[in-house]
Amino acid sequence: MKIVVLIKQVPDTYGERVLSPDTGWVDRAASDRVIDEINERALEVALTYKDSAKNTEIVLVTMGPAEAKDALRKGLSMGADSAVHILDDSLEGSDALATATTLAASLKREGFDLIVTGNESTDGRGGVVPAMVAELLGVPSLSFVSSVVITDDRVSGVRSDDTQTLQVHAPLPALISITEGSPDARFPSFKGIMTAKRKPLSVLSFAELGAEHPSARSRVVSNTERPARAAGRTITDDGSAGSQLVDYLVAERLI
């Protein structure tokens, strides 16, 4: 079985994240860059399957700037077998459809039985790239699933929100996007870190994919930073905090 995991490098959510004032794009240089936590969980889903089915090949694919290579190296050190980096200046500022078009072209070239992605990235929070990729490839997709079970010829999972819980499955080849309900990822082992450096990591330009940029695109037209919030009053409880709080809520007309 060949599993491709789609990995995105994002600004670390633990730090301050910045939008560039002129383009409205994420200013990647302003923050530490990490592999998105949800993509580590996606990789964990693939690695867990590989633990029980040794002849599984796990390939990582990312589209991103030069530094995104670090995210791939981390994934390799966690146990993936090889990685593909789509790196091209013409891809800067890609919207969801352009990103999905590029990823789908590379997946067609790479071949796959199963594609595993995160449900939504922490920077864009779009959550539509997986469905787009599946549609462009003409394969079924299970989006926003957890409790994933993979067998030789199918994948299943649970898809749940505050209105419904669905039990879903798809025959392979297919794509799944997993939620935070999936288990935390393992840490790279020392051996993993040592062997990661020798694992194949290929870099592809957009032209090498033989795809075309979509003609429709979305564009950020304005961008305003909101003033940061300031701290108010803090009291230490001496047994009367409850009634002081009620006084405050009354004064502010909140109750």
Binding site: E135, V168, H169, S215, A216, R217, V220, E225
Partner: protein, 323 residues
Amino acid sequence: MTDIVVFVETSVSGELRPSAAELLTAAARLGSPVAVVVTTAPLDASTAADLGALGAATVFNAVSRLLTTSLTGVQTAALAKAVEQFSPAAVILSNTLDGRDIAGRLSARLGAAVLLDAVDLRLDAGTIVATHSVFGGAYLTESSVDSGLAVVTVRQASIEGSAPAAAGQLTSVEIESQPLTSGVIDSIDDIVVASNRPELRGAKTVVSGGRGLGSAEKFVLVEQLADALGGAVGASRAAVDAGYIPQSHQVGQTGITVSPQLYFALGISGAIQHRAGMQTAKTIVAINKDEDAPIFEIADFGVVGDVFSVVPQLIDALNSRKP
């Protein structure tokens, strides 16, 4: 006037989800709303009339037996048909799991660009402009599509007001073939919400609890305060991970974004990812026994104290005010 297609979500039994009103309100600002409803049996006249009252000029009912076995496939096919028939300027969906899945499928199928998680929509000299709240409300951005159809998802509980009532003219199509690219639904459980608390999204008051509550049993304190204030119950990811409360209550980066009049953080440290989901609240109250907890940096009223002594005092004081 240009048509604007709206995807109306329903429960398994065919009841309209609350998002229908919001989406029709947004659509009416941009053009003439066409409500697309996908059902297993033909829509009854009263539901079409309800949609008309909410602003739908046309109700386009796609009927398919496959709805309950094909994961978002029928809905995508229905919207593609509606786009063919009405040549709308936009397709508007709710930013739910289904909404995003269908938006992605439709965009890729039609080669149309997307505008995602809009908190507002307006028409600017004939161009549809979406407003987005980025990085937990730290930025407001506006976006539009260069040309052609815009596929738009709208954040739940973000559009205010209502649309003028319209005709709700009902037309129907049937969708028969099994969409090849769909996942298969084996079973559906509608979640019946037993409580009479307000929905977390859009609630005026939200009371959230964190790891500081210590256990699922003791998390009841959060619910008691929520009930005393008539508010909704939220939680930090740590509280969800510890099993105190289901994930659908998670507030933050990877949970729900709330923007209530009043937000209570009980036993929550105020990690940046939690703040990303609540820092646009009008008033923030925090109770935490660690005076250095980062939540105090953004709280309008902070109490350094133990939730198990402060919150019962507070509930007593609130209850004694009631007649």
